[in-house]
Symmetry: C3
Subunit: 318 residues, 3 copies
C-alpha cells in the first residue's frame, strides 16, 4: 500500500514515505542523483535553480531542529522558498486537525511538505489527501520510518564499499524504538545485502524482527564478527521506559561500541550513526572520532540525498 502511494502509475516517485517496497532501481536513481549534488555542495556557489519559485513547507509536528535544518539547507540550495512550521505550538493547539492544517497550507499553493510527526503513518495520511502535484516527504514518523536517513546511509555505504552484494552489515542497539533501523533494513535488503544483522538485547529488538530478513544476535561479539559495516543506533532515552530496559551505563558496558568490540569487525569496517551521538553510551568517543567512523560524511551526504529526493519529486510533475 505504501509502495503504491509513493509511486505513480508509471512507477515514478511522487512521495517519499518509506524505503519499504521502494524499487531497487528507484533507490539507485536517488543515489546517483545525490552524487551530482555532493559536487554542487563542494562548489564555491552551492546553489542550483532547480526548485526556483517552489514553496516547500517543513511541517514539524515533533520538534527536531537538526533534521529540519538538513531539509531547509537542501531546499535553499535548490533555490526553493522554504517555510518552517513548528506545529506543536500552532494551529493544532487551537483544535485544528492534522488534515485541516495541511489543506490550509496546500491552499497556499504549496509544492512539497516535509513532515515529521510523533505518530506513525501521519505522512501517509497526508499523502493520501493532498492534490496531484503536491509531494510529501516523510522526515520521521513515530517508530515507523525515516526514509531519507535510510537512503543517506545507503549512499554512505556505497561510497565506501561500492558493491552491496557481498556485505555483512550489523545494526547495533535500540532497534525496537528506531524508525531509522526499519528504513535501513528495508533499503539494505532491497539493494541485495546478503547479511543484515540486528544486535541487541531482547528488550530492544522488535518481536519477529527476523521477518524483515535479518539475523538476530544478542551476543555483541558474535554480531560484530567480520562485519563490513557497523551501524550504531542512538539510545532513545526519551522513548524508553519500563523496568526491563537497561540503563545507559549497563547498555554501554554490553552493547556500546568500543575500540575493542570494533576490532571484531573487518579491518576496513566503517562505523555509522544517525546522530546525534551519545558519547559513552551507544558509542565511545574513540570510535566516533576514530579512523573507521564515517559519521560526518553521513551528514554531508544527507544534504545531497535530500536535495536529490526533492529534485526528483519536483521533476516528476512535468
Amino acid at each position: 500500500m505504501s509502495a503504491n502511494l509513493q509511486l505513480d502509475s508509471q512507477g515514478r516517485l511522487v512521495h517519499l514515505l518509506t524505503t519499504e517496497g521502494l524499487p531497487r532501481s528507484l533507490i539507485l536513481h536517488i543515489l546517483d542523483t545525490a552524487a551530482q549534488f555532493v559536487s554542487v555542495n563542494e562548489r564555491e556557489v552551492k546553489k542550483v535553480p532547480l526548485l526556483r519559485g517552489k514553496s516547500i513547507f517543513n511541517v514539524f509536528f515533533e520538534n527536531s531542529t537538526r533534521t529540519r535544518t538538513t531539509f531547509e539547507i537542501a531546499a535553499k540550495r535548490l533555490s526553493a522558498d522554504v517555510i518552517n512550521l513548528n506545529i506543536g505550538s500552532s494551529s493544532t493547539a487551537k483544535g485544528e486537525t492534522l488534515l485541516d492544517t495541511v489543506w490550509n497550507l496546500q491552499a497556499m499553493d504549496a509544492d512539497m511538505f516535509v513532515v515529521r510527526h510523533a505518530e506513525a503513518g501521519a505522512p501517509h495520511l497526508i499523502a493520501r489527501h493532498v492534490k496531484p502535484g503536491v509531494h510529501v516527504v516523510n522526515a520521521g514518523d513515530g517508530r515507523h520510518a525515516h526514509p531519507t536517513q535510510g537512503l543517506l546511509d545507503m549512499y554512505t555505504i556505497r561510497h565506501y564499499k561500492q558493491d552491496f552484494s557481498r556485505l555483512v552489515v550489523a545494526i547495533v542497539g535500540d532497534v525496537l524504538h528506531s524508525r531509522v533501523a526499519r528504513s535501513q533494513i528495508h533499503a539494505l535488503t532491497t539493494l541485495g545485502v546478503p547479511e543484515v544483522r540486528v544486535v541487541g538485547p531482547k528488550t530492544l529488538l522488535p518481536k519477529d524482527v527476523e521477518r524483515l530478513g535479518v539475523r538476530v544476535f544478542h551476543d555483541v561479539a558474535a554480531g560484530l564478527r567480520d562485519c563490513d559495516v557497523v551501524i550504531t543506533l542512538r539510545l532513545q532515552n526519551e522513548r524508553m521506559s519500563g523496568p526491563l530496559l537497561p540503563s545507559a551505563g549497563e547498555f554501554n558496558k554490553t552493547y556500546g561500541l568500543t575500540p575493542e568490540k570494533l576490532a571484531l569487525a573487518k579491518p576496513d569496517a566503517i562505523v555509522m550513526h544517525p546522530g546525534p551521538i551519545n558519547r559513552g553510551v551507544e558509542i565511545d568517543s574513540g570510535v566516533a572520532d576514530g579512523t573507521h567512523s564515517v559519521i560526518m560524511p553521513q551528514v554531508t551526504f544527507g544534504i545531497a540525498v535530500r536535495m536529490a529526493v526533492m529534485a526528483i519529486l519536483a521533476g516528476n510533475d512535468r
Copy 2:
C-alpha cells in the same frame, strides 16, 4: 483618522491598517492587483521580482503561525527578504517599549512591517511613528481589525458572485470578539452590498452594532434566509469568558452551521470561514467540506491579496 493615516496626500495607500474608511476605488484596485497574483501562484515558478532587495519584518507580538505564514510566503513570492520576529519572547521581555522595538528595526533599513498585536491600535501607533517610505500592514490587532482578511473575503465574494450590488451577506456567530467581522462589515458596506446581516446571540454581538450599517438577527433561521453569502466566524474560545456566554455545545446547537440551516440560504450560496475552523462548533464538517464551501479558495486568494497589498505599498514609494 485611520483613513488619513493609511493614505498619503494624493490618496495613495501608504499603510494598510483597517478597511474602515478605505475608499471603494482603492479596495477594487487591491482586488484587481490580487487577480494578477492569483495567476502567478498557479505558475510553475511562483515568483516575481517586484520586492527584490526589500526587507520585510513580520513582527508578531501575538503568536500566529498561520497568519505569519501567509505573509511570509506572499513576501517571498515577491522576492523580498523576510525576517520573522516573535516579539513575545524577545526584547519586550527585556523591558523595551513597542516603539523602541520598531525604531530599532526601522534603523536596520526596514521597508515594511507586518504587525500583529493583542492590543487594538498598536499598528496605528507604529504607523504614526515610522519614517516616510516605511509601510505598516496590520495583521490583526486585538478585536479591532484584520484588514487583509477582510479584503481576501471581498476577493472571494467577487470571484463567486461578481457583483456586490445585489447581495445578501450574513455574518454568523461571535461578532463581538471578531476583528475579522469588523473588517468584513466595513468592506462590504463600502463595496455597496445592500444587506449585511449579523446573526448571533446578544451576548456575542457588539452593542449598537447596527450603527455599522448591518441588520441584526438573533434568530438564525431568519438570519440565513435567502442569503447569497454565509460567513461563519471562529468561536474564539480563548477570548471568551463570563457566565452569559454559551458553551461550544450550546452554540453549535443554535448557531452552528449545519446542512439543514444552510438549506435556508439561496441554493447557490457560498460558505466562508476565516479559519482555522472548529469542526462541530461553529460549522459542521458536512458544510465545511461540502459543495457550498469556499474556505480553501479563501486561503488561496489570501496569498494573492497579501502580495497585492505589499506590492502596492512598495510601489507607492516611487
Copy 3:
C-alpha cells in the same frame, strides 16, 4: 592567542572573535568596507551577490532575537542562505556536546557560523575546531566579547568625530557584566583614543580595569566632564545579583544619563548605547531621544559593519 586564532599566517581575518589584539589596520579595513555597505542599504534594492550560494548558520546557544536579526538581515543582503538555530531548545538538550553540534553543521558544508553563547570562550573553542575555510563570528560570549558591537561603535564614532586621536570617551555604567564595554575598550585603545574612561560604582567595575588602559571614575560628574563621546551601557538586570549592587532606581539617580549630567560633556558630545535601552534606568528619554543621541544610527551602521565582516571573511578564502 585570540589574535593568532582570528588571523591567518598572512595576517588576514579568518574569524572575528574579539577586538582584543585586532590590528589597527584591520579595524580600519572593516570600517572602510562597512562604509560601502551603508550606501548599499540606502538603495532601493538593498542586495549584493557577494555571498550567493554560501550557507551561514546563526547558532544561538543564548536567545537574542535582536542580535540574531541584525546578522540575519546582513547575511540576506549579501545574498547568503541563512539558517537560524536556537540551540537551547535543540540537540544540546539531547545530550549533544557543543563541538558535536558544530561538527554536524560543518558537515552540511557550512561556510560561516555566527555564534552567541552564555559561556565566555565558546566561539574560540569552535574556531579552534572548524575546518579551514569555515569562519566563526562571535555574536557575544558571556561577559567576554561582542566584537561586531564594538566595531559598529567605532564606525559610529568615526562617522561623527572623524579622528580618534583627540577624543575623550566615557563608558558609563555596568562595565563589570558588559562584553560590549570590553570590546569597545580594546578597539578604542587600538585606534589611538588618548583618554578612555570608565564611570561607575566600584561594584559594577571590574577589578584592575585600569590595566586595560582606561581611567576609572566613580564620580559621574568628573567622569563626564569634557567628553566627546558618552557611551551608556545597558543595566543587565538579568545578570546582576548580590546585596552590594544598586537597585535600578538608585542606579538611575547616581549614574543614569540625564540632560543635566550630559551638559557636563562637550557641547557637541554624542551619546551612544548598545541597546535595548532601559528608559529611566541607565538613560533618560530626554537624552535617548535628544539631539546628542546617535543610538539609531548605531543600529543602521551595525548592519553595514556585520555585512563588512562577513564579506571580508568570505573573501579571505580565495
